[in-house]
Symmetry: D2
Subunit: 331 residues, 4 copies
C-alpha cells in the first residue's frame, strides 16, 4: 500500500517533508501547493510531483494524506478542510497560536474521526525515543525532575521573531512537548523568565532570546526548561530525567567520534549544527509512524491534536507569565 | 607563623575542620568546645588539643582564630563574641536563619574590623574554582544562563528536616552561593517550586525534598537551580554556565577512572558518594585561604559575611516563594 | 549519468552492495549472477534486476561496472575477465589469497587501463575518513605509532575458518589496510602472535581467534594491530595515531547517546554490534567514490589494486610469522 | 607502632619517598644518606631527620627499614647490606640491570628472610588497583589480550639515556610489571621494535624513544606494550584488558573535570603531566602496603623481589629482541 501525499507549503519545512516522503518506499509525493508558484514548481519538479492549489489537493481523489507545512496562520483552517475532505493529516506545530482556535479545530477532527498527527519531530529522534521507552518501562522509577535544554546555533533575524509568536510559542513549544512526553503527566502551573541577551534587536521586537521556565504537575513533579537562541558549540538538544531509581539522559550528537589530544586538552568534535542533520532520522521515523497509522486506520497516532493543544497552552501560559512576572495556572 | 585555632562544635562538621586544621602545617588545633563533654574530649584527644568552654576559647590568649561549627542557632552570637574578642572567624553557613540577625552580626564584625569568612566550601573545590577562574577570565564571554544541579545521595531523617530551616536554607543555600559565585551579579527575583516526592515524612514535617528555583539578575541574566534529597548514583554536584562565547561545565567526580565494557554497555564507576570525599580537597583549600587572609591581615576573604547574607536572603525569598506560589523580590 | 552495475555474487556482501546500488540515484542495479539460482533470483526480484551468468554480465552492453562479491577464489579471474571486457571493477577484498595471483591480475588491469577499486570499506567510514583527513593535514604532526584494534562481536563457525585463509587474511586484512591508510608509508617487517583462546575448534581447524601484529616502516614508524574474534560489548573498531604534535583517535559508535545513572554507575549504551549498521554509511560512501571515479574517468581510485596487493602481502607475512615464530620481511 | 626509616638517596625519587614517609602517621623519617652532602643535608633539614652514611644507616639500631632510592648501580649491594643487617627493605626498580645480579641478591634476602618490596608504584595507583581487583574477581572472565600504553610528557636528555640501561629497562620496565600484574601469568616470548623518532640524539646515544613489544604466555595469552618518550597532551598512562566476559580499562586522569564547549568543539582539560601528581596517591598507598607488611611480619609483600626479577628479565629480552630483530624466549 502506498500513501499518496499532498504537501501544503514549499518552504523550509515543506522541503524537508517532501524529501522524506520521496525517500519513503511506502509513500508517494503526489502534489505540492504553495502561494509562491516558483517554490511549488521547483519542489514538484525535483520529485516528479504535480503542482496544485490547496483546494485542489484537499479534494483530489488521488491524495490520501495532506502534510501541512504552510505558515502557522493557515494550519487550523487547512486541518479542518482536510478533515472535512476525509484526508489523513500531518500538521507542523503549532496548530494555532490561539488555544481557542486549536480547540475548535480538534472538534472538527473529532467529528470527522480524522487521523491527525502533529509534527513534534523530536519525539522521533532515536536517542530521545530510546530514553522515553526506558522511562516508561520504569528504568528510572517514579519521575521527579525533568530538565530540558534547548539552544539554537544562531538567533533568527529580529524581523522573523516579530511574527513568530515569541520564543515560548516558536521555539520552546518543542520543549513543552518534550517535557510532557518525558513526564507523562500534565503541568498545572508555569513560571517563566526571559531576557534579550543575545541580540538587543530581538528585545526591541518585543521578544526574548534567553528564557527559563519551571512547571509543576498536580502530583508535584517538576520540569525545568532553558532556551537560548544562540550556542557557539552547535545545536544543543538535551534532557535529563531524574527519578526514584536513577537518572537518564540523552547526550548531544557529535559530528564524528574523532577526538584530538594535544597541549590544548582532549578536543572532541563539535555537535551537529543543523536541524536537518540533527533530526534527519527523526523526520523519517515520524513519517513512518504517520504512515503506519494511516495504513492501520489508527486515528490517534501520537503526538496528536491534544498534544498540540497542551503544548500551546503551556506556551501561552509561559508567555503570560513572562509578561506579568507571575505564575500562570494551566488547565 | 602558625595560626592557633579554637574549634566550636565537635559534631560532624567540627570533626571535618579539626582534621583539616590538624593536617595543615600552618595551623595548630589548640582548643575544642562542645556542649557534649564526651564529644569535645574525644576530638581533643585525637589531635592533642585542649577542651574548653566557648567563653574560654573566645578569651584565650593563645587562640588566633575560631572556627564556628556549632548548631546554626549559635552562629551569630558566637561570631559577635569572637569579633569582640579580636579573633579571626571562620563560620559555617548559614550565619543565621534570620536575615536581620545576620545584618546585626555583620555590623559588629565591621565595627571591629574582624576577619570573617563563611564556610561555603564548594567555592574551593578544585574543579569548580578552575571553572570560575575561566569564567572571570572571559572564556565563555558574557554570562547568560547559570544552571546548578545538586542532589544528595540520601535524604536526611524527617526529624532533622524539621529543625533545619527547610531545604532552601539547609541544602540549596550552597547552590545560591554557587550561583552568585558563578554569575558575578546579584539576583533580584526568585521563583521557587517544591514537593516531597522522595519521602512523604519530609512533607509531613513541613518541608520538601525536591525543589527548583529560577532567578534573574537586574541585567536579565538567568539562573536555574534544582535540588533533590536523593540520587541513587551518588552525590551529584554539577553546574553549567552558558555565555556568549560558549559553555563551561564541571562534571562529577567518579570513584575511579575504571570502565567496564560488556553486553550491559559501557559502565563507568559511580560518582563519589560522600561529602567528605567529594569535598575533602575543598575543605583543605578553604582553610588555606582563611589562613592566608589571617596571615596577611586581609579582613575580607571571600566568601565573606556579605556573601553569607546574600545567600540567606535568597534562601528566605525562595522559601517564601515556595509557600506563597509567587515570585519574591530580593534587595 | 547513471552507472549500470552487474553484481557477481548474491551472498551476504552481494546483498549489501545490491542494496547500496539500488539506493544510489546515480546507479542502476542491472544484473545479478550467482552460482545458486535461487539466491540470484531472489535478489534480482527485490530490486527489479535481471539474472544472468557471470559471462553474460561481463559481455553485456548495458553494464558499465561489475561489482565482484563472489567467493575469494573467483576474484582474480573475474577481475581479469571484466577488465578484458572493458568494465570498471569494484572487487571485494582480498583479490586473491596468493600474492602472485594478485600481481598477474594487476598486470591485466594495467594493460587494459581499467578502473579498479578494492572493497576496503572502512576507509569510507565517516569517522575514520575524518581522522585520516586531519592526519594528512598534519594535525598530529609526524606519525610515530599507529594502533588498530578490531574485535568482532562473535566468532565465525570453525568450518568457515577452515576455508577463510586464516585470521590474518580473512579479518586482519582490513586492519592491515587501515594501518597503511593511516600511516601513509609501507611496512617492511611484520611480527605476529596468535592463539585460539575464544573457541578451541578454531584452533583445531588450524587457525587462531586472538592475534597481535607489530610492524615497522623503513623510516622506523611502528604499527600495532590486535584482533579478537569475540567481544561481548559489540563490534569494536578503533584506532589511535600518535604523532609529534598530538594524538588522534576515533571512538566506537554507540547504539544511542542515552546514558543511565544508578547505583551500578554510569551506563552508556553498548556499541553497534552488526557490520551493516556500523559500516552502512561507509558502504554508501565507498560506492559514491567508485561512481565518481567511473564518471570522471579516474582509473585509479583509492583503495586500488596496489592497496589490495600490499594488504595481502602483509597478511601473508603475518601468517608466516605466526607459523614460524619469526619476523618476516615485506617488500 | 612507628616504623623508622633510613632513606638512601636524596635525589628526585628519594625526595618523593621522604615526603611520603614524613606525611605518614605510622612512619618516621629518621635518616638520610646521599653521596652529595648538600642534598642529604637539605632533605634532612626539611623533615627533621639526621644525615648519616649508608653504612651508619644500615647498622643503626633506630632504623627498622631502609628505602633505597640510590642510583641503580648500588641497589643490589645495598639490598644485601640491609638484609644482612636485619632491615626491612623497600627498593626502587630495577634491582639491577643484570638479571644474574638480581638472582644473587634475592638469595641473600631469602637466606635472611628479609622483607623486600620493589618500587613498582603504579600497582598502587587507585584506578589501576581497582581494575586489577576486578580482573582477579573475574569481572572480564578469562584474560585474552592485555594492552599497556605509556607515554612520557617529554623525552629525557640524551646523556641521561646513555646511562639509563635503555628504554626497555628504564621506562618500559614499569609496563612489563604492569602487564604481569594484570595478566597474572608469566610471559615466555618477547618481540620488540624500536626507533628514535622523537629525538635523533637519543638514537645517536644508542637508544630508542618509541618502542613496541608484544609478548605471549605459555597458555597463549597476548600482551602488547607501546612506549613513547613524548606526548604533547600529558603523561599518558593507560591499559585495557580484554577477556571472555568483556573489557576493562583505566582512563587517564585529567587536571580537572572542567570542559569548555565552543566552536572549537568540546574541550576537556589535558591530563596530569607530572609523575608526582599522577602517582602521588600511589606512592602513599605503596608505603602503607610496605608498612603493613613490616608491622605484620609479612616477609613477602607484592611486588616482591621475584616481580623485580621477572620484569628485568623481560626488559633484557626486549632489549635483545630489539637489537637482533628476533623474538627472545624468557624463562
Amino acid at each position: 500500500m502506498t500513501i499518496k501525499f499532498g504537501v501544503i507549503g514549499a518552504g523550509r519545512i515543506g522541503k524537508v517533508h517532501s524529501a522524506t516522503i520521496a525517500a519513503n518506499p511506502k509513500a508517494k509525493l503526489a502534489y505540492i501547493a504553495d502561494a509562491m508558484p516558483q517554490a511549488a514548481n521547483d519542489l514538484a519538479a525535483k520529485y516528479g510531483a504535480k503542482v496544485a492549489s490547496v483546494e485542489e489537493i484537499m479534494k483530489a481523489k488521488d491524495v490520501d494524506a495532506v502534510l501541512i507545512g504552510s505558515p502557522t496562520g493557515f494550519h487550523a483552517e487547512q486541518i479542518q478542510m482536510a478533515s472535512n475532505n476525509g484526508k489523513a493529516i500531518m500538521c507542523e506545530k503549532p496548530v494555532s497560536l490561539k488555544v481557542s482556535t486549536i480547540e475548535e479545530t480538534l472538534k472538527v477532527v473529532e467529528k470527522n474521526k480524522s487521523t491527525l498527527m502533529i509534527g513534534f519531530n523530536r519525539r522521533f529522534d532515536p536517542n530521545f525515543a530510546e530514553a522515553e521507552k526506558r522511562i516508561r518501562r520504569g528504568d528510572v522509577g517514579a519521575i521527579e525532575i525533568v530538565t530540558v535544554i534547548s539552544r539554537d546555533p544562531n538567533p533568527p533575524p529580529a524581523q522573523y521573531v516579530a511574527g513568530s509568536g515569541g520564543i515560548f510559542a516558536d521555539m520552546m513549544i518543542h520543549d513543552f512537548d518534550m517535557a510532557r512526553f518525558l513526564m507523562g503527566e500534565d503541568f498545572v502551573v508555569v513560571n517563566a523568565l526571559g531576557s534579550a541577551l543575545v541580540d538587543k534587536a530581538i528585545g526591541e521586537a518585543g521578544d526574548v532570546d534567553t528564557a527559563a521556565v519551571q512547571m509543576q504537575t498536580a502530583s508535584g513533579r517538576i520540569a525545568v526548561i532553558t532556551n537560548s537562541r544562540r550556542a557557539t558549540y552547535g545545536y544543543d538538544q538535551r534532557f535529563e530525567v531524574h527519578g526514584s531509581k536513577g537518572m537518564i539522559h540523552a547526550k548531544n550528537v557529535h559530528n564524528s567520534t574523532v577526538e584530538v589530544l594535544s597541549g590544548a586538552g582532549y578536543v572532541a568534535d563539535p555537535i551537529q549544527n543543523f536541524f536537518l542533520e540533527r533530526y534527519g532520522q527523526a523526520y523519517a521515523n515520524e513519517l513512518n509512524t504517520f504512515i503506519a497509522a494511516v495504513e492501520s486506520g489508527n486515528r490517534d497516532p501520537k503526538p496528536n491534536g491534544h498534544d498540540g493543544l497542551q503544548a500551546q497552552k503551556l506556551a501561552e501560559a509561559a508567555t503570560e507569565s513572562w509578561k506579568t512576572g507571575k505564575p500562570v495556572k494551566v488547565s
